[in-house]
């Protein structure tokens, strides 16, 4: 089954790769694109279905407003133009997972078009930006789910029959299609991966999808072709489906380059076909041939009213866009005065958002980074959970940090306080009180409390000064009360006598 390949470097000496990426993202709307059925994952088979998404006769679709808004917001985040008027179209073909025998999609009138996304890739000459041009982003619907029965492998080949669950049919999808990506040279695998990663970050930032590649809410098809040099016409491409992780995107591009190069060097041609990616073996295998031009007989969907987004609506949606993730990282790297490597560490540890909200709450960037990549990361790692799941708020960290700054806590005590916070024993101050963790060596706050106690009871100073040292007891008591029991009583006495110029 495995086809001959040649070394990647060798392939790149002979050919110029051209990429094309199609990404399908499942929107996180509450209901389907054209009916009110729930989009919730994991329901019993065929319980999130109705006459519309089952394609029963006489049913009529009704368009989900949030689906359209999400499409426009995605388009804007990808620097696209937004159509002033567009329609849905029927894409006609027969497949059991599609109950209507057509997919409601968009054809020559996509809602978003002509955009781009800049992605950074590490090259031999340092970090370089590649611009990926976006051809279009259009709205469509997902299909049902087939389970293939009989046959040894559970795959479609060799199956006796199939079972279909239509819960997923009609869930809103946005398909984002790039223009041919040229000029990547040997960095084609890295550019493909960086593009999907950047797109995922943007979609997550928009809050339009949970973008889980492993669960299929973000799916990538990788088109690849080779040509002898950039001066030549585009070569015949293969379309690799089922590429469901960032790593697989990179690996499948690398594999297809080496496979196609081997064919071309052997005097064979590349077949235009769908190929399937196999995560376990790291190869693609031939699927459906696309040599025959497909005939989907697209025509405008008469049951759905045209969409004409007003410019006011588009601008209103534009104002809801979050900062571009790449821009945000660059900005924070600069503002926090940290290196790119340190920023990478924050991202890889999954704590960038946590550090940012801590800094926004007044903590210094260095202190926030120290906590989230240090002690908290250590504890999270020890317990096999995410840092976020420890449930320590930046308010609590800021309080601990402030206490360290005033000398009320040292690092060792602070770790014990944190332990109490993670165990949800109470707020920081009550944990310090109940565990008796306050540092007592700091005279400043104690003296302040002594002065305040003497001011509240002027007679006691005179008594002490005249030799009635037992009167000091009431001052110590007042200081203990003011410091919530965390003061060292002996030290308070010493400070009190020194303050009054009296020897014990």
């Amino acid at each position: 089954m495995a086809e001959p390949v040649i070394a990647f470097d060798q392939a790149l000496k002979e050919f110029d790769p051209v990429l094309g990426l199609e990404v399908h993202v499942e929107l996180g709307t509450r209901t389907k694109m054209f009916c009110g059925c729930s989009t919730e994952f994991g329901g019993e088979p065929n319980t999130h279905v109705c006459p519309v998404c089952l394609g029963l006769p006489g049913s009529l679709p009704a368009l989900n407003r949030i689906g359209v808004e999400s499409a426009i917001r995605i388009g804007l985040a990808l620097n696209c133009e937004i159509a002033t008027w567009c329609r849905f179209a029927r894409k006609n073909y027969f497949y059991p997972d599609m109950p209507k025998n057509f997919q409601t999609s968009q054809y020559d009138e996509p809602i978003c078009f002509n955009g781009y996304l800049d992605v950074d890739v590490d090259t031999d000459e340092g970090r370089k930006t590649f611009r990926v041009e976006i051809e279009r982003a259009h709205m469509e619907e997902d299909t049902g789910k087939n389970t293939h029965m009989g046959g040894a492998t559970g795959r479609i080949h060799g199956a006796d029959y199939s079972l279909v669950d239509y819960n997923r049919a009609g869930i809103p999808l946005i398909e984002i299609v790039t223009k041919p990506i040229t000029g990547t040279g040997k960095y084609a695998p890295e550019v493909a991966k960086a593009y999907v990663a950047a797109l995922r970050d943007i979609l997550r930032g928009l809050g339009v999808s949970d973008v889980k590649m492993e669960q299929g809410s973000l799916r990538c098809d990788v088109n690849l072709s080779l040509r002898p040099s950039p001066e030549h016409e585009l070569g015949t491409r293969s379309e690799t489906k089922n590429v469901n992780s960032l790593r697989s995107v990179e690996r499948s591009v690398r594999y297809e380059v080496t496979r196609q190069a081997a064919r071309l060097l052997a005097g064979q041609r590349v077949v235009q076909e769908t190929r399937h990616w196999h995560e376990d073996t790291g190869v693609t295998t031939s699927g459906r041939s696309k040599e025959q031009a497909e005939d989907y007989r697209y025509f405008p969907e008469p049951d759905l009213i045209p969409i004409a987004p007003s410019r006011e609506w588009v601008e209103e949606l534009r104002s809801t866009l979050p900062e571009n993730p790449a821009v945000r990282r660059a900005r924070l790297t600069k503002t926090w005065n940290i290196s790119e490597l340190e920023m990478e560490n924050l991202i890889n540890a999954g704590v960038l958002e946590l550090v940012e909200s801590a800094v926004n709450a007044g903590m210094s960037p260095d202190a926030a980074r120290k906590w989230y990549t240090g002690e908290l990361a250590r504890v999270a790692n020890e317990r096999g959970v995410e840092v976020e799941e420890l449930g320590v708020t930046h308010v609590e960290l800021a309080r601990i940090e402030a206490l360290i700054a005033t000398g009320a806590l040292n690092d060792k005590l602070a770790r014990q306080v944190l332990e109490g916070v993670i165990a949800r024993e109470g707020d920081v101050d009550s944990i310090i009180a109940s565990r008796g963790l306050a540092v007592v060596s700091d005279d400043g706050p104690l003296l302040e409390a002594i002065v305040a106690a003497l001011a509240a009871d002027p007679e006691v100073a005179e008594k002490i000064a005249s030799g009635k040292v037992q009167a000091a007891g009431s001052v110590v008591g007042a200081v203990m009360k003011a410091t919530r029991g965390q003061a060292d009583a002996a030290r308070v006495r010493e400070l009190l006598f020194a303050h009054l110029g009296v020897s014990e």
Partner: protein
């Protein structure tokens, strides 16, 4: 003037998943020809400057709010299915023809 060939009929039949015997291809070709000829009369009119119409009523931006509505239960959903297994629609082998 429309001229539907036997090959056209065979291609259309395949796309529509209709099993038309070899012997009937000519029969349908001439019938489809007659239909297309009738429709072709429209080409005699001057339609320059006339937009193709997909929707008879001029309306735009009709949306549904993203609020869940009741669905069918599995029994209702499967009531019209020719074959059912495990709360799912049972369909014949998919890759038979390849």
């Amino acid at each position: 003037m429309a001229a539907i060939s036997r090959d056209d009929v065979a291609h259309l039949a395949r796309l529509a998943r209709i099993d038309i015997p070899e012997s009937e291809l000519d029969h349908y070709a001439s019938q489809l020809d007659a239909i297309l000829e009738a429709v072709d009369k429209v080409s005699g009119l001057d339609t320059s400057g006339v937009e193709p119409m997909s929707h008879p009523v001029k309306m735009e931006n009709v949306f549904r709010e993203d609020i869940p509505a009741p669905s069918l239960n599995a029994q209702q959903a499967l009531a019209g299915a020719p074959a059912v297994e495990d709360s799912r629609f049972r369909v014949p082998r998919i890759l038979d023809e390849e």
